[in-house]
C-alpha cells in the first residue's frame, strides 16, 4: 500500500520526477567517479607494487626508486648481505639506463633496465622467452613497433651517447628473444630489459657492479617490517622502502586528487540531497489537504512520513542506478584523460571500479534520500488537522 501511494505521488508529475531522477543520476555519477578516484589510485598503485610479490625496495640513500640517476655500489656484496638476512627470500637487482639501437640511418632510444632474468619482477613475457645469455634482450610492444624488429632479430645497441665525439658508447650486438609487458613503464614508453651484467658492462666504469634498485621478496610468514629494519641495520647507505611507505609517499604526491575527489563527492551528494529535499518539500506543500485527510481518517503519522520518505528514497534509488551506469562511462573517459600523464605507468588507473565503491555511493545516496524526506514529511504530517482542512477547503 505504501509503495503504491508513493508510486502514485511520483507519477502524478512525471516530467518533474523525471528531471529529479536525471539530476540525481548526474550527482550519483559524479559521486561514484569521486569515490572511485579517491580509492582507485591507491588500489591500483598497491596492485602494481605487489604484482610480483616484492614487498621491499632499496634505493640509494635519500632517494626513491629511479627518482634520480644515483646508483648503489658494490651490488654483489649487497645481494650477499641481503640473502644473509632472515626472512629475505628473493633479491632482484635492477640497473636503469638507456639503450640506443642503430637501425641504418635512424636510432631508436629506449629505457633499458638491467635485470637478473631468474628473479626479475619488472615484466611479464607475452611472447618468446626471457634472456638466457648475456647478449639477449626482451622489449615491449612500443619498442618493437618503433624499431620495426621481430623476435629473433639482432640489433646493434649502445648504452650511451657521447655528445663530444658524436659517437655511441658501450656498443653491443643484442638479440631480441622476447616480447614483454613492463609493469612500471608508461604505455607509450619504449622499454627493453637486458641481463644486468650486460648493461653494467655497456655503461662502463661508472656502472661497474652497481644497481639502481634492489627489490626484495620476504619469505612466507616473515614480518616485512622486521625484514625492513634488518635491512636498514645491515645496509646503512641505502633507503629501504616498504609498500606501505611507498603508498604513503604516493598519497602525499597525489593528495590533490584525493582532496578533489572528497570535495566534488561532497558537492555531488549535497546537490542530490538538495534536489530531492526541494522536490519532496514542494510535493508535500501541494498535498497538504491529502495528507491531513489521511491523518483525519486515522492513518498514523509514522505511516504518512514513511510514504513521503519512500518517495525521496525512490527517486534516489532510481537516480542512483542510472547514475552508477553513467558514472562508469564517465569514469572511463576521465581515466583516459589522466592516463595520458607523461611517464605514468600503464598499470595505474585513477578510476578503478571496485564493487564496494558502487555500494558506498548507493548507500550514501539512500541515506541522503531518507534524510531529504524526513523533515518535509514530518512537518506535513504534524500539521493541525482541523485548521489545515479548513485552510485547504477555503483555498
Amino acid at each position: 500500500m505504501l509503495l503504491r501511494l508513493a508510486w502514485a505521488a511520483l507519477t502524478r508529475h512525471r516530467s518533474r520526477t523525471l528531471l529529479a531522477v536525471l539530476g540525481v543520476a548526474v550527482s550519483a555519477a559524479m559521486l561514484l567517479d569521486m569515490v572511485m578516484l579517491s580509492s582507485g589510485m591507491r588500489a591500483s598503485f598497491r596492485n602494481m607494487l605487489l604484482a610480483k610479490g616484492f614487498q621491499l625496495r632499496l634505493a640509494p640513500k635519500g632517494t626513491l626508486p629511479f627518482d634520480t640517476d644515483a646508483t648503489i655500489p658494490d651490488a654483489t656484496n649487497v645481494i650477499r648481505t641481503l640473502h644473509a638476512i632472515p626472512g629475505v627470500q628473493t633479491v632482484s637487482p635492477v640497473l636503469g639506463g638507456q639503450l640506443h639501437v642503430s637501425l641504418g640511418s635512424r636510432t631508436v632510444t629506449a629505457t633499458a633496465i638491467g635485470i637478473d632474468p631468474a628473479v626479475q619482477g619488472d615484466y611479464d613475457i607475452t611472447a618468446g622467452r626471457a634472456p638466457a645469455s648475456p647478449d639477449e634482450f626482451v622489449a615491449n610492444d612500443t619498442f618493437i613497433r618503433d624499431a620495426r624488429v621481430s623476435l629473433g632479430d639482432t640489433v646493434a645497441a649502445a648504452a650511451g651517447y657521447d655528445p663530444q665525439l658524436r659517437a655511441f658508447a658501450g656498443r653491443r650486438t643484442l638479440r631480441l628473444v622476447g616480447r614483454a609487458h613492463f609493469l612500471y613503464m608508461a604505455g607509450d614508453q619504449r622499454a627493453a630489459a637486458v641481463p644486468i651484467a650486460t648493461l653494467q658492462a655497456m655503461q662502463g666504469e661508472r656502472a661497474r657492479d652497481r644497481a639502481s634498485l634492489f627489490m626484495i621478496r620476504a619469505a612466507t610468514g616473515a614480518n616485512v617490517d622486521t625484514v625492513l629494519a634488518s635491512v636498514e641495520r645491515a645496509l646503512p647507505n641505502v633507503s629501504a622502502v616498504s609498500t606501505e611507505t611507498a603508498m604513503r609517499q604516493v598519497d602525499e604526491r597525489l593528495s590533490y586528487f584525493r582532496q578533489l575527489a572528497l570535495i566534488l563527492g561532497a558537492v555531488s551528494l549535497a546537490v542530490g540531497f538538495l534536489l530531492v529535499t526541494t522536490l519532496v518539500s514542494v510535493s508535500v506543500n501541494e498535498r497538504l489537504g491529502e495528507i491531513v485527510v489521511m491523518r483525519a481518517i486515522g492513518v498514523a503519522r509514522g505511516r504518512v512520513v514513511a510514504q513521503i520518505v519512500l518517495e525521496g528514497v525512490g527517486i534516489m534509488i532510481v537516480g542512483a542506478v542510472v547514475g552508477l551506469a553513467l558514472g562508469l562511462v564517465t569514469a572511463r573517459y576521465l581515466n583516459s584523460i589522466l592516463a595520458s600523464f607523461p611517464g605514468l605507468p600503464a598499470a595505474i588507473d585513477f578510476f578503478l571500479f571496485e564493487p564496494h565503491d558502487a555500494w558506498s555511493a548507493l548507500g550514501m545516496l539512500v541515506v541522503a534520500g531518507i534524510l531529504a524526506g524526513i523533515y518535509p514529511s514530518w512537518r506535513g504530517a504534524s500539521l493541525p488537522i482541523a485548521t489545515t482542512l479548513r485552510d485547504e477547503a477555503i483555498g
Binding site: 518533474r16 548526474v26 640513500k61 663530444q164
Partner: protein, 286 residues
C-alpha cells in the same frame, strides 16, 4: 645527482677541504634550511656520496622556489653552488649538463639555434618555449581533466536549474491561470517567468562567485602550505566570472523558457483547478 649530494648533506661528517682554504658559499633551498634547521652563515659539509669525504661550505643565501607548476610535486631539496665547486665535488671534470643562452631578439634566437645545431660539435640547441611546452604536458592533462569535470558540473547545474524552475512555476500555476483568465497574453507570462529565471540565475551565480572566491582563497592557502610554493593553484579572473555568470544566465533563461512553455500550453482552467483533464474521460462523458 643533486639528490645524492643532499642525501650526503644530512649524514656527512668527513670534511676533505684543507684547513687553509676558505669555504665557498652556497645557496640552499629555504625548505631544506627549515627542515635541517640551517641558517645563513652556518657551515655545512657536502659530499657526493653518503658517508664519503666532502667539502665544508658556508650558507650565504636561502632560495625560495619560484611559482613554477612543473616543480610543485618535486619534493627533493636543492642547493645552488659555484660551478667549479660542484664539478670538483662530484668529479665531473670541466663539463656541464647544459648552457642557457640569452639572445637579443626572436629572430636572433632562431639564427643562433640554427647555427649551433649546424656547426657546433656535440651540441643540440632548443628554444626555451619548446622545452616549456614539453615540461607543461602534465598541466595540460590536469587542465583537460578539470574541463571534463566542469562539463559534468554544468550538465548537473542545468538539470538542477530546470528542476527548480519547473517547481517554482508549478507552485504559481493558479496565479498564472488567473492572469491568463484576465487576458494577459501567453507571451507576457513567458517573458515574466524568463525574467524571474534570469534574476534567480544571476543572483545565484553572483553568490556562487563569492563562494568560489572564498574557496579559491582557501585552496591557495591550503596547497601553498602543503607544497610549500608561492604558486597560485586557483585563480578567479574576470573572464572566469564572466563565463560563469553568462553560462548561468543562459541556462536560467533556457530553464525558464522550458518551464513557462509548460505553463502557457496547459488550459487555464486546468491550471486553476490543479487537475489534469483526461481527454478520454471527456469523450466518454459526451
Amino acid at each position: 645527482m643533486i639528490a645524492a649530494l643532499l642525501a650526503a648533506f644530512a649524514f656527512q661528517t668527513i670534511d676533505s677541504v684543507p684547513s687553509h682554504r676558505a669555504p665557498r658559499s652556497v645557496a640552499i633551498d629555504a625548505r631544506l634550511a627549515a627542515d635541517a634547521h640551517v641558517a645563513i652563515g652556518d657551515r655545512i659539509i657536502m659530499s657526493s656520496t653518503p658517508g664519503g669525504p666532502g667539502d665544508t661550505v658556508i650558507v650565504t643565501a636561502l632560495v625560495r622556489r619560484r611559482a613554477d607548476p612543473s616543480e610543485v610535486a618535486r619534493a627533493e631539496y636543492r642547493v645552488r653552488m659555484h660551478l667549479d665547486e660542484l664539478q670538483s665535488l662530484i668529479g665531473y671534470g670541466d663539463r656541464v649538463d647544459r648552457f642557457a643562452v640569452s639572445a637579443r631578439s626572436d629572430s636572433s634566437t632562431t639564427r643562433a639555434i640554427r647555427r649551433i645545431n649546424d656547426e657546433a660539435f656535440g651540441f643540440q640547441a632548443y628554444r626555451s618555449r619548446d622545452i616549456a611546452v614539453e615540461t607543461s604536458r602534465t598541466f595540460l592533462v590536469v587542465t583537460r581533466f578539470h574541463r571534463a569535470i566542469g562539463v559534468i558540473t554544468i550538465v548537473a547545474s542545468a538539470i538542477f536549474l530546470l528542476c527548480i524552475m519547473l517547481l517554482k512555476v508549478d507552485e504559481r500555476r493558479r496565479d498564472v491561470a488567473a492572469l491568463r483568465l484576465m487576458g494577459i497574453s501567453a507571451g507576457t507570462i513567458v517573458r515574466s517567468v524568463m525574467i524571474e529565471a534570469a534574476l534567480v540565475a544571476v543572483l545565484g551565480s553572483l553568490m556562487g562567485v563569492g563562494i568560489g572566491w572564498l574557496t579559491s582563497l582557501g585552496i591557495n592557502w591550503h596547497y601553498r602550505a602543503v607544497y610549500r610554493t608561492p604558486l597560485a593553484f586557483s585563480v578567479v579572473t574576470p573572464s572566469i566570472v564572466a563565463l560563469a555568470v553568462t553560462l548561468s544566465l543562459v541556462l536560467g533563461l533556457a530553464a525558464g523558457f522550458a518551464a513557462a512553455q509548460r505553463l502557457v500550453r496547459a488550459p487555464a482552467l486546468e491550471l486553476l483547478s490543479g487537475r489534469r483533464e483526461d481527454r478520454r474521460d471527456l469523450v466518454q462523458a459526451r
